[in-house]
């Protein structure tokens, strides 16, 4: 039986403005507030795949989480990995099988990067590595020592939104918001690559980011507008 598939009571819903803020910017303070409020139920979020449990295998489970499964039979130990993320250095002790996405979300609490498909098909986990967009779900954290990693939390310049973030708000480039951090990271790189010439080019070069709400029209409008402004990074 899957330990994470238990029925959970519905979470208290944040108001719309707050949710937009959290999902669009991944702002750590806003997010932490949200997480704190919903911690009792968020720890048992139904959609967290089994892989996530490996990432935090050696840390005690959150109090309200369902019982953790037994540790894997083959124990290959942990290794020291130092990651450079959004200009900060994070020393980690992790198993080599921990993906960059799980390291970000489960160990570093940088939960702006989202786990959608976990197979490199949806783009919700997109981050920038040395300025290039990649699927963090298919990257092992151990492979990226020495690389400069930028997540949605590092896209804004302090309080100043990146032009792509501002344009997503202006053009309503999201509905549920789950794909938005990945869309924004991907769009920042797409513009930097010079692949945002027109709608047709964006359709092709943003095809690695799926939006199940179908906000594509507004996403393209946002990227085209942001393209012509000076980006804060990348």
């Amino acid at each position: 039986m899957h330990p994470l598939r238990e029925e959970v009571p519905p979470s208290p819903q944040p108001n719309g403005d707050e949710l937009d803020e959290i999902l669009t910017f991944g702002d750590p303070l806003t997010r932490r507030r949200f997480l704190h409020r919903t911690a009792l139920t968020a720890a048992a979020v139904v959609a967290v795949p089994a892989l996530a449990r490996h990432a935090s295998a050696e840390s005690p489970p959150p109090a309200a989480a369902p019982a953790s499964p037994a540790p894997p039979a083959v124990e290959t130990g942990t290794m020291d990995v130092t990651l450079s993320i959004n200009g900060r250095t994070y020393p980690l002790k992790i198993e080599p099988r921990v993906t960059l996405l799980d390291a970000l979300r489960e160990r570093l609490r940088l939960t702006g990067s989202k786990k959608g498909c976990d197979h490199g098909q949806c783009g919700a986990c997109t981050v920038l590595i040395n300025g290039q967009r990649v699927n963090s779900c298919l990257a092992l954290a151990a492979c990226h020592e020495g690389d400069e990693i930028t997540t949605i939390e590092g896209i804004a310049k302090g309080e100043e939104l990146h032009p792509v973030q501002a344009a997503f708000i202006k053009h309503d480039g999201f509905q549920c918001g789950y794909c938005t951090p990945g869309q924004i990271c991907s769009a920042v790189a797409c513009i930097a690559e010079g692949h945002a010439k027109d709608e047709a080019e964006l359709r092709e070069w943003m095809s690695g980011n799926i939006c199940r709400c179908g906000a594509y029209t507004n996403i393209r409008a946002a990227i085209l507008e942001a393209r012509d402004q000076k980006p804060a990074i990348a």
């Binding site: 892989l51 490996h54 894997p72 083959v74 124990e75 290959t76 130990g77 290794m79 198993e95 080599p96 099988r97 993906t99 976990d118 197979h119 490199g120 783009g123 997109t126 290039q132 967009r133 990649v134 699927n135 298919l138 990257a139 092992l140 151990a142 492979c143 991907s186 790189a189 797409c190 690559e193 692949h195 359709r203 092709e204 070069w205 095809s207 690695g208 980011n209």
Partner: protein, 331 residues
């Protein structure tokens, strides 16, 4: 994902000695296929050798002695597709690379990883299916009728396996007659592209002839004659970011209005990039704008096709893709 141990190779010799010492180890490049297969439980290597720091294998450069261009095993797909040597001399390769996967995946995916990627046959990719001769030799083929075989092969299949090779890049490399350069513990090999990937026969678990203790170091692209025409055409279920139903890479050298040499490779129809040699032979001396002649050559090539319940459409589609790709190459 299974637990495994991890090491980083500092140079090709280090990677080779790791492979020799640990026969079950796998090399980790971009990881866009291997990590996914490990998550699925299809691959469970006890050890990964990270080769991402072998910078010498990431180069794209002129081969010495006018032998064309050397595309390093670790060159990322996105770097290859925008490198001036590739864009200017081998545009069909750039087209094929850019028609595959997504920008995020191409930023990580490597040359060697593209050659070694596994089929996306769902019976192979999901261990919940009990039958797959490629994943568990002798367990049968779940894709054969009455299985669901819409994406499967129509040429060169065997009773053991009807999987397709998923790559676009490799279809172009087949048409370009590239050479796969490998380094083993004692010898280097230069393997013609056509020989590198296998047909399934009765050993579908073997995709290629690469040995377990061998490292791909580069793919060599032969020099291109002046005036060469080429095109990559991919037909898929959606406009972007989907595997090919059928694709074709076409390379044509003309003499006046007649075809002097033509190479046609098909994707999505076989266990390996399929060189349409019957069609090629039939087209020498013909005018590439003579659509009836191209259609006749395509008919000849597909005469041997063995479709299954859900992929009968691929036979006609492959013919049309050949006609359109040749037409586009000389348009």
């Amino acid at each position: 994902m299974n637990a495994f141990t991890y090491s980083r190779a500092a140079d090709p010799a280090g990677a080779l000695s790791e492979l020799s010492a640990r026969p079950q180890a796998k090399l980790l490049g971009g990881g866009t296929n291997l990590i996914d297969l490990m998550k699925m439980g299809v691959e469970e290597p006890p050890h990964l050798v990270d080769v991402n720091r072998l910078a010498a294998l990431a180069r794209i450069e002129e081969a010495p002695g006018g032998k064309g261009v050397t595309l390093g095993a670790l060159a990322r797909n996105s770097d290859a597709a925008q490198h001036p040597l590739i864009v200017q001399r081998y545009p069909v390769l750039a087209q094929a690379i850019l028609s595959g996967a997504s920008p995020q995946l191409r930023n990580r995916a490597t040359t060697a990883g593209n050659l070694l990627q596994r089929t996306r046959c769902p019976y192979f990719y999901d261990p919940a299916f009990p039958s797959c001769n490629k994943r568990r030799p002798g367990s049968g083929c779940g894709a054969l009728d009455p299985g669901y075989n819409r994406m499967h092969a129509i040429l060169g299949t065997s009773p053991a396996c009807i999987a397709t090779h998923p790559s676009d890049m490799c279809v172009a490399l087949a048409a370009l007659e590239a050479i796969v350069l490998t380094q083993g513990p004692t010898e280097q090999r230069a393997i013609p592209f056509e020989e590198f990937h296998r047909l399934p026969g009765d050993q579908p678990e073997l995709d290629t002839i690469l040995r377990a203790d061998e490292l791909i170091t580069a793919v060599q692209l032969p020099p291109q004659p002046a005036g060469r025409r080429s095109h990559y055409l991919k037909v898929r279920d959606r406009a972007s970011y989907a595997f090919a139903l059928v694709s074709a890479a076409v390379v044509i050298d003309l003499e006046g209005d007649a075809i002097k040499t033509i190479r046609i490779a098909l994707g999505g129809v076989a266990h390996k990039p399929w060189r349409a040699k019957k069609a090629e032979a039939a087209l020498v001396g013909k005018n590439p704008r003579d659509e009836a002649a191209i259609r006749a050559a395509a008919e000849l090539e597909l005469a041997d096709a063995k479709p299954h319940e859900h992929n009968k459409f691929k036979v006609e589609l492959a013919k049309r893709v050949i006609v359109r790709a040749v037409g586009n190459a000389v348009a």
